[in-house]
Structure formats: structure tokens, C-alpha cells
Point group: C2
Chain length 234, copies 2
């Protein structure tokens, strides 16, 4: 498969580069596809490459010594991953797995270093993007530290719907396979508790559920659950 410049149009880290620079960037890029379950990189391995997702969805997870898993991030089209590790020269903080057929563009670490040294806007863009990620993590951390499970799940679902919601006839459907276990690993709880919460919401018409599927039917109601201290159960 050949790559052309249009691929880089929406990639934030290369924003503001002129045509010549873009061509340099592209000349060092490689294309790589992943089938569901395949992984791009593994936790604690030295970072060797930096990815931009073109199509599909990748999940970045961290595994604890006790075997608990935490989902750090779901990567959507246009987003990059492995960036902080390659740019900063660290080991990968987690494992990146494809949750559906995915296509990526890849740069080696050496290529990235060349590009950053040569085109200064790249480093500046990276600072912006990392700053934004940082804020997102701070938000999640604050939620984990101060909110009950139900509200955390609500916030998480709202974010997922905003970033990966596809308009369906009955609401906003998360457009990739998302298990109860995944949600649990994003919110610091167990799949059992997630299941109970989602089913209670389904009763009230807030969501619609399927196997590895969630459709947000009433995002107003979900927002109310996310914001209100009380359960407003009634």
C-alpha cells in the first residue's frame, strides 16, 4: 500500500508543516495493519516506533504485577500513540492492542528524532498534545479519587460517546467492541459492578446494551448521573 500526503492532513503532531517538510515526514513513514488482538507494542519494551492510527481502534493497557489490568487510553483514527515514549526516550508505558481491524502509519524512533531536530514545529506540537493528554489524565485521576463508581462509569461513557459515538437510530452507539470488562478497567471497578450499573440504566432507558456494545440513548440523563452527587434514583 502506498501512502500519500492526505494521510497526514489531520495528524496534529505534523500540523503547520509546509509541503516539503510533509514530504520528508512521509518519506520516512511505513504502513502497518493490525488484526483484532494483535499488538503494536508491549509494556516495558524499549520504544522503537511511533504510530498514527488511520482506521480502526487500538487500546493501550497497563498490567500490574498482581494481574490487574488498567486501560490507559482508547486510540481513535487520527490520534497518535507511543508518542510520549518515543519522543521522551522511555520504555512503552503499556501494551497497544487492536480491538478491531486497524491501519497505522509508523515512524521509527530514529526517523522521529531526525524529524524533530529538523522541523521545530513538531516538538512544539508535541508539547501541546502532551499537555492536552495530561489534562485528560488529571480529570480521570480526580474522578477516581473523588467519585463513586456509578458516576465514574457515567463520565467514562460520556467521553467515549463524544469521541467514538456513531449516530444510530436509537442513540449514540460506541463504534467499537467494548466489553463490560473494558469499562471496568477504565473506571477502576469490576465487570460485575459495571454490569449491574448498566442494566439498571437500561431499565430506565438511559442506555441500550448488547454483547460488547453500548448505545447511549439519553445522554441528558447520563450527564445528570455524572454530575449529580446524589444518585437521584427515585
Amino acid at each position: 500500500m502506498t501512502l500519500d500526503l492526505s494521510v497526514l492532513e489531520n495528524v496534529a503532531i505534523f500540523k503547520g508543516l509546509d509541503r516539503a517538510a510533509m514530504e520528508s515526514v512521509l518519506s520516512l513513514a511505513r504502513h502497518q495493519a493490525f488484526a483484532p488482538g494483535e499488538y503494536a507494542f508491549s509494556q516495558d519494551h524499549d520504544s522503537r516506533a511511533f504510530y498514527v492510527l488511520l482506521k480502526g481502534r487500538m487500546k493501550v493497557t497497563q498490567l500490574t504485577v498482581e494481574g490487574h489490568q488498567v486501560v490507559l487510553h482508547f486510540v481513535g483514527p487520527g490520534e497518535m500513540f507511543g508518542c510520549a515514549a518515543v519522543c521522551g526516550g522511555f520504555a512503552y508505558p503499556g501494551t497497544a492492542t487492536a480491538v478491531m481491524q486497524s491501519e497505522t502509519v509508523v515512524w521509527t524512533r530514529a526517523a522521529m528524532e531526525t524529524l524533530m531536530a529538523r522541523f521545530s514545529p513538531i516538538a512544539l506540537n508535541a508539547v501541546h498534545i502532551l499537555g492536552a493528554r495530561m489534562r485528560e489524565m488529571q480529570t480521570r485521576m480526580r474522578e477516581l479519587a473523588t467519585e463513586r463508581v456509578e458516576r465514574r462509569v457515567a463520565h467514562t461513557l460520556l467521553r467515549l460517546a463524544a469521541s467514538a459515538g456513531r449516530r444510530a437510530d436509537n442513540g449514540l452507539e460506541i463504534e467499537f467492541p467494548l466489553s463490560r470488562q473494558d469499562i471496568a478497567e477504565m473506571t477502576g471497578t469490576t465487570l460485575h459492578t459495571v454490569s449491574r450499573i448498566l442494566n439498571a440504566w437500561q431499565e430506565r432507558g438511559v442506555v441500550e446494551l448488547g454483547r460488547q456494545k453500548v448505545v447511549v440513548r439519553d445522554s441528558r440523563a447520563l450527564g445528570a448521573i455524572a454530575e449529580h452527587p446524589a444518585n437521584l434514583g427515585m
Copy 2:
């Protein structure tokens, strides 16, 4: 007070700059001191300046709409704060308060932008530093998501002792006033639970307590509590 180049020696973001560059950096800097309780910037305000702490200790906290507070970071000498916000052009994510008499060096946002555009190593350093912060946050998030309170407190105390521990006759003392409430806000729990946990540890000789004071007497034992799934009570 006059500033001289030695002040910048240990500041990571200006590492690798030549002497002339360092002088440019310094010429745009300003000195500012804070008494305990005074703040450098406030949550959600537009970021106008970027700080490096010379002496003392600052605390960056985030307040939720319900009035819960979360401690994002304790800043020690040599560290910078307000960096991500200024470099990325965001509002400050939290409020920076002095917990003891502190001295800082300050750059305005405009100055920072000038410097970053002119001296490319600065942006690269920023990427490194943000990457490292990111990893730290991921660690805390994982702890919040998967560990019980006691282990989280243990991990937090170990980190504090490593970064701000002063050798005392009876162990490592955290060298700034640190209340039970502060620890609770770092670990996502309540001051009551922290108090109970610390007192239990004191009984076992792991720590020694005072008003706004913690001394780690047995960091091995603390490490064991932090790592072991079970409480290993006795």
C-alpha cells in the same frame, strides 16, 4: 534580589543550552517569593506565567465542583510548575499554593514563547519532562484504580520520602508540613482513614507522627506494605 546563571543550572527545561542562550533566558526572568498560604496561580485562570521553584515547597491542587480537593503535585526545589499550561496555551489545571516560605523564578508566557521559538532544545526538553510527568500520573492512576487505601498511602509516602525526605536521627522525615488531609487528597481517601492507617503503622514502628509531620522509620516495612497484596497484618 538579583538572579545569576547558577540558578538555572539544575533546571531541566533549560538543560543543554549554551551560555549565551542561558543569558537570554535569565534576562527575561523575574524573581518572586511566596509566604505560606499564598498562591502563584489559580485553577482555570488563563496561564500567564511559568515558574521554577528555587527554595521551599508548592502544592498544586484541583478543586471539584462539590468541594473535594485533589493534590496533583507537590513541587520541590529545581522543579518547574505551570509549564504544561503555559507551553500548551491552556488554563491552569489547578491552584499552586506555597506550603512554606518559597522562592521562584518566573517567566511570562510571551517570554516563554520567544525562548521556545529561538532555542529549540527547550521544546525538546519540555517533551521529555512532560513525558516523565505523564508516566508518574499513569502510575498514580493505576494505583487509584487497583489498590486498596493502605497500599496507596504506602506508595505515596514512599514517593514523598524519596523526593522530599530529610535524613533525621530516627529515619527519613518529610521536609515540609504535610497534614493527614494532604495525604488523603493525594490518595483519594479521607483524613480519618489516613489517620487510622498511620497510627496503626506507628504502633508497629514503621513511622513516627507529629502535627503535619511524618517520619518514615522503616522504609523496608513500608515497601512491603506497598507491594504485598495481603495486609500481612502482624
